[in-house]
Amino acid sequence: MRVFIVDDEMLAREELKDLLAEQADIEIVGEFSNGVDCLKALAKLKPEVLFLDIEMPMITGLELASMIDMASAPDIVFVTAYDEFAIQAFEQNAVDYILKPVQRERLQQSLARMRQRSQHQPPAFERLVKEQPLTLIPCHQGQATKLVRLDTFEYAFSDVSGVHLWDGNGQVHSHLTLKVLEDRTPMIRCHRQYLVHPQAIQEIRQEADGNAVILTLSGEQVPVSRRYYKMMRDLFSL
């Protein structure tokens, strides 16, 4: 199993690495001291299991879990020092959690459970998502990483280099997928590669070929494909 370890304490990572190293079928493909870096690497390295600390800088383990695209979601094991978090609120067999200091037997149990699962089942995050809609988006601009409020963005789009968000002046890069943004924010899909924030729409113009174009508040044009135009007309009762 390909595994990520995400914990802001080096010693905690070392300790967990030591314990996992005793298992023959475990391959640690990534080790991160924060959720933002983990998010960046997810798509590329495609781990099967995430060991997630909960208290971490910028975004917590819980927030990170809610930012992961369910389609490609790995199994998640929260590793935490103190279980005041309502982990029980999650669907029982979708996630697991282990208390620090990690006991070898408890870790083996958890791994055994994951191996037994014949086929990968995406974690059922519905409740988490309902309780914690995404409001802060981790963004990258050059070398800097920051959390930006979703409301500041007019639209999001994907291209070969990844997902980008337009804030009215410029664009930032995000490691969230369009699917995650569509599912967990108020943004709506208007094109296979575009999402738009309803509050940023100034005008929708129909084109001759059945497609349409959205004019945003900042004057940007966002394409609307024929398929999504229909849905948008229903949505806005046009």
Binding site: D8, E9, L11, E55, M58, P101
Partner: protein, 564 residues
Amino acid sequence: MSPVMILLVSMAQQMSMFLVIAYLLSKTPLFLPLSNISARLPNGMIIYLIFSAFCILASLFGHTVNDAIANTRAVGAVLGGLLGGPLVGMAVGLTGGLHRFTLGGFTDLACAVSTTLEGVLGGMVHLWVRKQGRYESQLFSPKRALIVTFFAELLQMTVILLIARPLDQAWALVQQIALPMLLINSIGAAMFMMMILDRRKLYNKFSSAGSDQALRLTERLVGVLGDRPDEASARRIADIIKEETQVAAVGITNETEVLAFVGLGDDHHWVGESIISEQTLQAIRENRVVFADGITTPYKCSHSNRCPLGSALVVPIRDADNTVIGTVKLYEGKRSLFQGINRSLGEGIGRIITEQMTISQHHQQKQLLAQAELKVARAQVNPHFLFNALNTINAVIKRSPETARSLVSDLSLFLRINLKRNQTVSTLAQELEHANSYLHIEQVRFADRLSIEQTASDELLNLHLPTFTVQPIVENAIKHGTSQLLGDGVVRIYTRVNMGLPQLVIEDNAGRYTPNPQPESEGLGMNIVDTRLKHHFGFDHGLKVECQPDEYTRVIIPLTGEST
């Protein structure tokens, strides 16, 4: 001497005698109702009795002139009306008149009618003065009494002329008695009224002396009062009240038994026995002042028939929740009147005691709160910190047993200080030791991401701070500061002197301080520290926070060194 002159002298003698009697009466409590205008029945009753008696005596001692009686009855009837109102006036006039009628003579009917009319006249003037909305003291004007009596006598003369027959005899009589009766009655009424007025003035003066007394009493009581009275403090309170009010006896009870009793009757009112007096039980049950004035409501001692106490005022004492927790009782003897001033004073005493107890309860609760806060601060060993520390030790054991050992000793020190330190004030050195035991652990835990810089001037190390001031601030700097950084965290702890005031500064390089933290975040720790600093050093010496977002948060702790 002319007959008119003889009559004048005789009537003056008569009036003098009455005035002497009235003067003597004015020294007794019997006179007190006269100097107070009150609609209450006993008051009117007393006025009626006194002035009816006056009328009857005046008729009896009158000077017989030509089968008629020259007399001073008018004074009684008019004053009765003036002081008691139309009903009392009429009753007095009628009584005096009927009595006069039984004495016979050719003017008997005329005198009966006129005396009744005189009483009614006095009563009408009483009504008129009150209707005018004037102060009731206007009723006590001797001048008005003189004028009213003068007209009342004119009225009487007229009635005699109208009713008494034969007319020529009546006319002869009026010629003889008119002048003396007009003069003597008017002057007599005025003098009588003056006497009542004097008594009233004396009473009021006494009341204003009472407010000085009240102030002194309050001052003395406040010194003694505190919590719920026990037997010792109750005894002191009772002594003070008795001394200041000069009542015959003072008792203090709690809800069930007598805590103190001093004064008249202390031979059978025992401390420690259960309350059995009906008035006291009523005051406790109904949570109100109960007054047995000894006149309309008699006070009867429940212990002994020979008890010399005749009146009692029972004032409930309440606690902060307005539940009765006891009573203060003021007594007077059977032979003395319970003074109105002492009644209001007694009720005031009840309020003072109640208030003092509320204050003292409030004070106690505040102290409890301060203690509770200390407990909270002490108990706030963050479980995250504890388990993360254990996890760190766990990870370090294999790699560096030496580091693990020092971590264990830091953790022990930290926990020991948290659990055991009892004094509310510590030196800066002690506070830094506590913070350092915490910091050493965190530094190993965030080894690659946290650096600590610490400088404290030696000469400041003995200054005092409330215990548990520094560590919670340092914990905040890491928890809400550096640990939220993706990059390296730096915590600086240093002393400095700013405008002559020594300070301890705890600074992180995160700059993530928000003045209004979300309820679930741990701003509570900061608030407690701030409250306790202000509590120890005064309102100006709380925490100060400077924050430059994304650059630094600086928490400044004043080191005044001297606790208030």
